[in-house]
């Protein structure tokens, strides 16, 4: 299929793209039975490897991944369900459908197999059978609704520039993987820097050559660069490294060890309600038989790297290749994407469904009913994956729906006449987001979050405390244009110390006495920045303050991006052509994204509970093209050619800075974990083998459970997650000097042992202080010491 069809209301799309004029002829198809035979052999091999529990390095996990995710997604991709969709969009729908089927299949097995006497429904045999059923079912469905893709024609017709771009982007992956290994082994940052430089260069070339590159090739390049950006962070550390991922790994191991997901097994953890980090990784691990942290560190990143491809596809609904590529660079270059998302696996899967949902809403090839069905299915995936993402998504839908209703009532809107649907893109009849679809999405939320898992209560209490308290706000809001004020960390630390000393004094003899703890100060400390490099010193010697430049560029990137969004939004509202092109519904949903982002920034409790930066990343899925339009508008006085050049160069410059490349080349900025063995994230989230050894030692000791464990914050690093230890009944609470329990076990982490710098989490911000080790030495016994971790009793 090579036809190019005009898409209603948007750009011309080619479903299966026609090759460029210089393409070479495809070889004739012979031996057509070979793919089928190879598939059967691979499926059998995957079954044998999974059921036998054999670990064949690299090949075994590769076959397993293909069996449970790759092949079903391929079958869906090559079916005719997604007619009219671009390559990236089809890939997005296909992967989202397969993940949803795995979630629902796992939930079904988890619920009903115990009723027939199978106590471990998520063990290897049921999961392999489920994957077989998925493969065979989708194969039969694809036979009935085929839409074959002529891969060989596509590959053979690849142009010179396409090949170069794909090779360059593919090169980024081994560079960052080897670079992460080097850093984990205590070596330097050279390879990761080379990988980042390669990403930047490839994006620059993609922008320059975009006219010669087909949609499919662009999607591949975006995927590979996104994967590189994720892996350079996710692969740091030989075990589970990061913030939320520690809790995620605990619930994954809990499900895996028990062979069953049980919401009541960890009653205080809302993570346990997310099937994306309980049932899904368990299913994958049963088939792949790999070191379990690699399920999150590698497999989930392979899935989430598709999200920027979907962002590109969403942008391409209405905008040019150039604008869409720049939008994706902003999305991938946003620090949350590569520094935090690899540590929030449930949200990664949630974002995939959000992207698929937005694609479904705006899929003008589908009927309104199909689009609504797609939206509801995507919402189901979001809710099962990550309840918080669902709240934001529902908020966007409600605001979007209200905005369309409001717009229809405005006098200027009525003056133009015609029903609301007339203002949708050409050819589209009726809005996707109506009261019915909003109610359906809300019903999913209530059914799963309210009745099945009872996680909705967490959100309700957060909303309640937003309006009832004047609680603290996350310091992330300081990146906002309208951020208001946030107390400095020194003040927060002082307040917290006073508050905990009072709490101690009121608790009798439970803690080391407040009078004793008060004698040991906990002064605020700032972690050292990177030393200036040769280039940095040279610039400094010529009067350019490198530290200030780095800070200004980073702050400028954050504020300029917000400014561009506002300018872009105004430009779109003010320009009739844009309004017609985007349609009222898309504009209304964009308003929904901006309103939700604004609410999270301005309301204190929400900025702490959800995180401003994550909300911005979610909003960018939809509004990143607006950002680009805004930058083009700002640079419009430069003229037609130069405004495009300025906007693209600025975007690449921001990528150069935000990914850490610029600070690393100059020095004088806080170290980033993807490039250094130092800095805030390294101290707080990097798990050292000595720390794991300490946890393992502690897990075997009697009396650990009743007397409790305190650990250097963030304490989630020390959750008991080994299959033999994980029960969900051990509680590891963060230690703070004025709240050290008399009888507890106290685990001090690598950073505290080596540098005495400890961390406390205040309103979701990490604040560093000097740990008063003498307090502990004089109050407790030092019972375990391996030089990198200490345990006191």
């Amino acid at each position: 299929m090579t036809s190019t069809r005009a898409r209603p209301g948007g750009a011309a799309y080619s479903g299966d793209e026609s090759p460029p004029a210089t393409g070479r002829a495809a070889p004739a198809r012979r031996w057509h039975w070979i793919p089928f035979a190879a598939t059967v052999v691979l499926v059998l091999a995957a079954n044998v490897l999974a059921l036998g529990g054999w670990r064949v390095p690299v090949i075994g996990p590769a076959i397993g991944f293909w069996f449970i995710l790759g092949y079903p997604a391929y079958l869906s991709y090559t079916s005719s369900f997604w007619r009219g969709a671009s390559a990236g969009e089809r890939a997005g729908y296909s992967v989202a459908v397969v993940i949803l089927l795995l979630l629902l299949g796992g939930l079904f097995a988890n619920t009903f197999l115990p009723l027939v006497g199978l106590g471990r429904p998520l063990d290897t045999v049921p999961v392999v059978v489920m994957a077989d059923v998925l493969d065979v079912g989708l194969y039969l469905l694809r036979r009935r609704f085929p839409a074959p893709v002529r891969w060989r024609v596509q590959i053979a017709s690849a142009g010179r520039r396409e090949t170069r771009l794909i090779v360059a982007s593919a090169l980024c992956v081994p560079l960052v993987v080897l670079g992460a290994n080097r850093l984990n082994n205590g070596a330097g940052d050279q390879l990761t820097l080379a990988g980042l430089a390669c990403m930047l260069l490839t994006f620059a070339l993609l922008l320059r050559w975009q006219r010669w590159v087909r949609e499919g090739a662009i999607s591949i390049v975006i995927y590979l660069i996104s994967l590189s950006a994720l892996l350079m962070t996710s692969l740091r550390g030989w075990s589970v490294t990061g913030h939320d991922i520690q809790g995620e790994y605990q619930v994954f191991q809990l499900t895996s060890a028990h062979g069953r997901w049980d919401i009541s097994s960890l009653p205080h953890s809302t993570y346990n309600a997310c099937l994306s980090i309980t049932i899904l990784p368990t299913e994958i691990s049963r088939v792949l038989h790999v070191y379990d942290p690699d399920i999150f560190k590698l497999c989930f990143q392979l899935l989430f790297a598709l999200c920027p491809v979907l962002v590109y596809a969403i942008s391409r609904r209405h905008w040019s290749k150039l604008i869409s590529i720049v939008a994706v660079i902003y999305f991938v270059g946003f620090p949350t994407f590569f520094t935090d998302m690899p540590y929030e696996n449930r949200q990664e899967i949630g974002f995939l469904f959000v992207s698929a949902g937005i694609l479904a809403i705006t899929n003008y090839w589908w009927t309104t009913r199909q689009r609504r069905a797609g939206l509801v299915v995507a919402a189901l995936g979001i809710e099962l994956s990550h309840y918080s993402t669902m709240y934001i998504f529902l908020g966007i839908l409600i605001v979007g729906w209200a905005a369309t209703r409001l717009a229809a009532r405005l006098p200027w809107s009525r003056r133009r006449g015609g029903p609301a649907s007339d203002r949708a893109p050409r050819g589209v009849v009726g809005y996707t987001v109506n009261i019915g679809s909003v109610m359906a999405v809300a019903a999913i939320l209530l059914a799963w979050g309210g009745l099945a898992t009872r996680t909705a209560g967490t959100a309700l209490s957060a909303i309640e405390s937003t309006f009832s308290s004047s609680g603290g706000r996350s310091a992330d809001v300081l990146y906002g244009v309208l951020h208001g004020s946030v107390p400095p960390p020194q003040v927060l630390l002082k307040q917290y110390r006073q508050q905990t000393l009072k709490q101690n004094a009121a608790s009798g003899s439970f803690f080391v006495p407040a009078s004793v703890a008060a004698q040991y100060p906990t002064p605020y400390v700032t972690l050292p920045s990177l030393p200036l490099t040769k280039v940095g010193r040279l610039l400094n010697d010529h009067g350019i303050p490198v530290s200030t430049v780095n800070t200004v560029v980073r702050q400028g990137a954050a504020k300029d991006e917000q400014l561009f969004i506002v300018v872009g939004f105004v430009a779109i509202l003010a320009t009739a052509g844009f309004r017609r092109k985007l349609g009222a519904e898309f504009i209304a949903l964009s308003i929904g994204s901006i309103v939700m982002l604004g609410l999270i920034t301005l309301l204190p409790e929400l900025s702490v509970e959800y995180g401003v930066l994550r909300a911005f990343q979610e909003a960018l899925i939809m509004i990143s093209p607006m950002l680009v339009v805004g930058s083009l508008t700002v640079f419009s006085p430069l003229g037609e050619v130069w405004k495009v050049r300025a906007a693209t160069v600025l975007c690449l410059f921001f990528f150069f800075s935000t990914t850490g490349l610029m600070p690393q080349l100059l020095g004088g900025y806080p170290p980033q974990l993807n490039l250094n063995n130092s800095g805030q994230y390294y101290n707080s989230y990097y798990v050292h083998p000595q720390e794991l050894a300490a946890v393992s030692w502690l897990a075997n000791k009697p009396g650990v459970l009743p007397e409790g464990i305190e650990a250097s914050a963030p304490s989630a690093r020390f959750y008991f997650t080994a299959p033999s230890d994980v029960t969900g009944k051990q509680f590891v609470i963060p230690a703070f000097p004025s709240l050290i329990e008399r009888k507890s076990w106290l685990l001090l982490d690598y950073a505290t042992v080596k540098t005495r710098y400890a961390t406390v989490d205040l309103d979701s911000d990490l604040v560093n202080y000097l740990f008063p080790i003498a307090l502990v030495e004089n109050s407790k016994d030092l019972v375990y010491n391996n030089g990198g971790a200490e345990v006191y009793k």
Partner: protein, 164 residues
């Protein structure tokens, strides 16, 4: 936004055309052999081979762990000159067999004295339990009993009150 810029954005939106590429030289027949030769050379030179090892394989972390046996029931009080049994474990994760010398000391009222010392050889990856009896001579509380491994930074200790 100017009228020109509007037009530019609008035009680029609808101009979804893949342009024909000018023909050019193929680079891979030259580049690929060069890369292969470069990689082969790097595997031969010891220093670059070491860099490959750092980039591909996990390097073991070397450390020694010292811990009390029965850490949850350490004595909270001692009687001067009375025998006291203690047991501790030396875990050798240094990657080679190590000769560990251990010293048990007491510290009370700022004065430190040795209660016992000896040496043990522990094979790589193995741990060894030392059980011994000491006679603390502390007269003033608190009395800190410490086990240390000279040549290694790891120490463990416990505090006890002195009973008459």
């Amino acid at each position: 936004m100017t009228r020109h810029s509007r037009r530019l954005v609008s035009n680029t939106v609808t101009a979804e055309v893949v342009h024909a590429e000018p023909s050019g030289r193929r680079w891979w027949p030259f580049l690929v052999p060069l890369v292969v030769i470069g990689l082969a050379v790097s595997f031969v030179i010891p220093s670059t081979r070491h860099q490959w090892a750092l980039s591909v394989f996990r390097q073991p972390t070397r450390y020694t762990a010292l811990s009390f046996n029965g850490a949850w029931k350490l004595p909270s009080s001692v009687v001067a000159y009375q025998p006291l049994s203690i047991a501790f474990v030396i875990d050798n994760q240094e990657g080679r067999t190590e000769d560990y010398r251990y010293v048990i000391t007491q510290t009370s009222a700022g004065l430190t004295s040795t209660l016992g010392e000896s040496a043990e050889t522990v094979a790589a990856g193995r741990s060894h339990t030392v059980s011994t009896v000491i006679r603390p001579s502390c007269l003033v509380s608190p009395c800190r009993i410490r086990v240390s491994l000279p040549g290694h930074p790891e120490t463990i200790d416990f505090l006890a009150t002195v009973r008459a």
